[in-house]
């Protein structure tokens, strides 16, 4: 296995980790108005992701940095090519991040409601657009001989990519609903559980269509297998959740995201960004890569530090394990003044 392949794998793992982790906190943000009617329930809902969402988002930053370091040409073409779409994602992430940090700083009902809206929109927009972006990467975009993007913003809004976006949107919402069912007691849990079936049905339909369509790009028996496994995990997750096995249900949607992402990355390989203009102009793991020396150093750094990071991140999840209820919200924090 070449270092370039290892780094393709590592970046796929980082993106997958990002989608699994921030996937559920996007879902929680999106479902906020649907699962929490009372102010105290909104606090319960947000507190399920409070200690972890920031750490989850770092997966994106590391994925971005790793792409820059390991495949600079991929990084350069992708982010200059997807310019306006990325701008929208960045704005959404900025507003959402601040909303999560600032909404509880003042005991003011109107202040809470505004930031809550920002959280919901700021979670839905990236959930949709990351799917659009990933689908476009797999499908390919017009690249010239210098690997520069020659399309425009509307090139990215093709039916396949939009389907990809809708798929991640509902999949993350489902993932979030099952996460909330796992992490709460009381009204929030009841509402989240009631959402599992409708969201699960929508996800099953969209994901099936999207993954089958994906096979038309560079499908093989491996990608078919992965896609079928993703479907099995999705159904398993929904059934487990309906049966009240919340942990198993969450593992189900997490595995679905892993397998769906694997389907996409295996389809993509050995390209990193196919050119729809001429396959010869495609960016591949070889022509987009850094030198062997840089990749060697990066491999050592990743090999030493990734296990440490995984260890302490897991520890965070362990510390904040257990279900949250209204009783966990301090009395003082509940006294929001209605404006």
């Amino acid at each position: 296995m070449h270092l370039t392949d290892i780094w393709f794998l590592l970046i796929a793992v980082l993106w997958t980790g990002y989608l699994v982790l921030e996937g559920f906190d996007f879902g929680v943000g999106m479902l906020l108005p649907a699962v929490a009617k009372e102010p105290v329930d909104r606090q319960v809902t947000l507190r399920t992701i409070g200690p972890v969402w920031d750490g989850n988002e770092v997966w994106l930053l590391v994925a971005g940095g790793a792409t820059f370091a390991a495949f600079p040409f991929w990084y350069a073409t992708l982010f200059s090519g997807f310019y306006l779409a990325l701008l929208v994602i960045l704005v959404a992430l900025i507003v959402r991040g601040l909303a999560l940090e600032y909404r509880n700083k003042l005991p003011d009902g109107a202040w809470h409601r505004r930031w809550d809206l920002a959280i919901t929109i700021g979670s839905a927009v990236p959930a949709l657009l990351w799917g659009v972006a990933l689908a476009n990467i797999v499908r390919g975009v017009p690249l010239d001989a210098q690997h520069n993007f020659t399309g425009n913003f509307f090139t990215l809004l093709n039916p396949y990519a939009l389907l990809g976006g809708l798929t991640t949107l509902v999949l993350f919402a489902l993932h979030g609903a099952i996460f909330l069912a796992l992490k709460t007691h009381g009204p929030v849990r009841d509402r989240a559980r009631a959402l599992v079936l409708p969201l699960g049905g929508a996800t099953a339909l969209l994901a099936a269509a999207f993954l089958i369509w994906t096979q038309s790009y560079d499908g093989s028996w491996i990608t078919w297998t992965l896609a079928v496994l993703a479907a099995v995990c999705l159904l398993g997750g929904i059934i487990a959740s309906r049966a009240g096995r919340d942990g198993l249900g969450f593992l189900g949607t997490a595995a679905t995201i892993v397998l769906a992402a694997a389907t996409l990355f295996v389809t993509l390989y050995p390209n990193v960004l196919p050119s729809t203009t001429d396959p010869a102009f495609s960016l591949t793991t070889t022509n987009a890569a850094s030198t062997h020396y840089t990749l060697t150093i990066m491999t050592w750094v990743a090999a030493v530090f990734t296990p440490i990071v995984l260890l302490y991140q897991s520890y965070t999840y362990w510390v904040f394990r257990g279900r949250l209820t209204r009783d966990d919200i301090p009395q003082a924090a509940r006294q929001a003044r209605a404006a």
Binding site: L61, Y83, K105, P107, S290, M298, V301
Partner: protein
Amino acid sequence: MDAIDLARWQFGITTVYHFLFVPITIGLSALVAGLHTAWYRTGKMKYRQLTQFWGKLFLINFAMGVVTGIVQEFQFGMNWSAYSKFVGDIFGAPLAIEGLLAFFLESTFLGLWIFGWDRLPKKLHLASIWLVAIGTQLSAYFILAANSWMQWPVGYTYNKASGRAELHDFGAVLTNKVALVTFPHTIAACFLTGGAFMLGIALWHLLRGGKERTELFRPAVKLGAITVLVAAVAVLVTGDIQGKIMTETQPMKMAAAEALYDTAQPAGFSLLTIGSLDGQREVWSLTVPHGLSFLATGTWNGKVQGINDLQQAYEQRFGPGSYKPNIPVTYWTFRLMILFGALSALIALIALWYIRAGSRSPSKWLVRSAIALPLLPLAANSFGWIFTEMGRQPWIVFGLMQTRDGVSPTVGAGSVLTSMITFTVLYGVLAVIEVALLLRFAKAVPAAPAGPESELAEPDAAFLY
């Protein structure tokens, strides 16, 4: 304006804005960790109150630093894709390592610190805030290593076939002499900023008076003032070394900082020059004889090269073109950086003198200046950054690639304009919200604790979600 100018403005605006929050984060995280340690060691309630008081302000500021930092990582690819391709083999590694080593540490342990008051063992909870502080400094180191490579590229070879700079010695990049002096200089400036932030707010509370409030904030005045003073000395020493290394590596930047057009030996340090900065006409000038010689070379009679000679030398080396940065900008930002840094140290010194003298309430004049105090180092930091980056122009990577060649070839001016307006407006709105929140919490007096320690496990609501 075309795409290149817009991209430059956007980089300047987003970077300077991001760097308003970074120094407060770096300085204040260590100070909060210090207060938390004092609480852990002594068990005194006032330290707990202070930890939470500054902890809250720290979190409000940290949030802005994080969200504006995301933009920084992606805009190299968005606006500067030609640059990203040219240097990615070298420049990407520190960024990726920063994420893996520093960002994960900061964000994960900050989550543990905020939510861990009643869940973590006390020692581990204390360790969390220290790990956050360490994470912020690690982060600064890797970013400054990357930036220093742009100032003084080392450890690479230029590959003609691939048309890019390729890494051949990562150790050299991490131990770049520019990085080794820029890092302590920047960290010292960060502590100066964090200390001034603490001192300014604590002084304001002292004026408001009340016995309880005075008792509570006196240690913060002391901690803030001492931090500023120690940091100021460190800024001065490291800045002096940096000046000498800068003269060696980027003589044009030093000449531009002084608007020194003709090579001089000895060279005087211009405290203030009124005149046309193109060097044609000098109306009035206040100069320290031999000052620049010492600053630049370490000897009183050292020779300092002027802009005109350097321009000629660079033309011979790199071909025709202008190799002069914007002289008025470099000249003034260099001075303003020093001025604002020195002013903050002066105020801290006076404040410390008052406190030491046992005077209960400092003079009104001092307290009024306290309101400006947190802003002074912020101004100094911004001018310092603008000086460093503008002084490097026209190079994006010194001697290797000019800024105009680094821009994304396929991104139109319309796209860059859209994103520049978006970020400027968004950042403006967020600044208003952030300042309002900071002021509100800075003015609030921490509630005096009632009841035994065990009932206080959970901090007040604003700490939590």
